[in-house]
């Protein structure tokens, strides 16, 4: 499994855009990049997944450069309710064994 590195924590204010970058230098050809969100006292929740370039859904955008050695999760106009831990995972699309690192704790302030 490709190892990932992401910042331990980030602070932001309501209405700002939050960008979390994840490094995965040894990503394999068939690996996808997946992001999960975990609110306090809840289980993780799938946010977005991508292979290359850009993926966007109603929650976030995922930017992946051509070399795929990193990726950036972008949360537009965050609110207090976006305070959570965000996990970056790398692995094949049919991988039963998800590997969660320490994640990035995002704190949104008023």
């Amino acid at each position: 499994l490709a190892k990932t590195t992401q910042p331990i924590s980030m602070d932001s204010y309501e209405g700002q855009e939050v960008n979390i970058t994840c490094s995965h230098n040894n990503i394999a050809t068939n690996d996808y990049i997946t992001w999960y969100q975990q609110f306090p006292s809840q289980g993780p929740r799938f946010i977005i997944q991508g292979y290359k370039t850009k993926v966007t859904n109603e929650v976030a955008s995922l930017f992946i450069p051509a070399d795929r050695k990193s990726s950036t999760l972008s949360l537009p106009r965050v609110s207090l309710s976006d305070t959570a831990v965000y996990y970056c995972l790398v692995g094949p699309p049919n991988d039963y064994k998800l590997s969660f690192g320490a994640g990035t704790t995002v704190t949104v302030r008023a």
Partner: protein, 114 residues
């Protein structure tokens, strides 16, 4: 309707006791999992069952025994509980045909061993 449910939500017990955590999913998924999240927030997979058959068994003490009576249920039984077993345990499920690494997690069971 709750997609993945776990009972109990909190479990406080003494060292040496035996306890069980139950998990049920109503999503029609074939695969279910148990994860352990320690105090540092690291989430590690313990077991995975696909259609009632064990497919992943990480390095977990044999005091932990999963049981899947049917594909909608995956229970976790823990014998001779130790202090280090204190953690939050999450159950999850995923569909058979996976193009996305999307697993659906339950709310967690916080186990405290005294």
């Amino acid at each position: 309707d709750t997609a993945v449910s776990q009972t109990p939500k909190y479990l406080v017990t003494q060292m040496g006791n035996d306890k069980s955590i139950k998990c049920e999913q109503n999503l029609g998924h074939d695969t279910m999992y148990w994860y352990k999240q320690d105090s540092k927030k690291f989430l590690k997979i313990m077991f995975s069952y696909n259609n009632k058959e064990l497919i992943i068994n990480e390095t977990v003490p044999n005091r932990f025994s999963p049981k899947s009576p049917d594909k909608a249920h995956l229970n976790l039984h823990i014998n001779s509980l130790e202090l280090g077993d204190s953690a939050v345990y999450f159950c999850a499920s995923s569909p058979r045909d996976k193009t996305y690494n999307e697993q659906f997690f339950g709310p967690g069971t916080r186990l405290t061993v005294l």
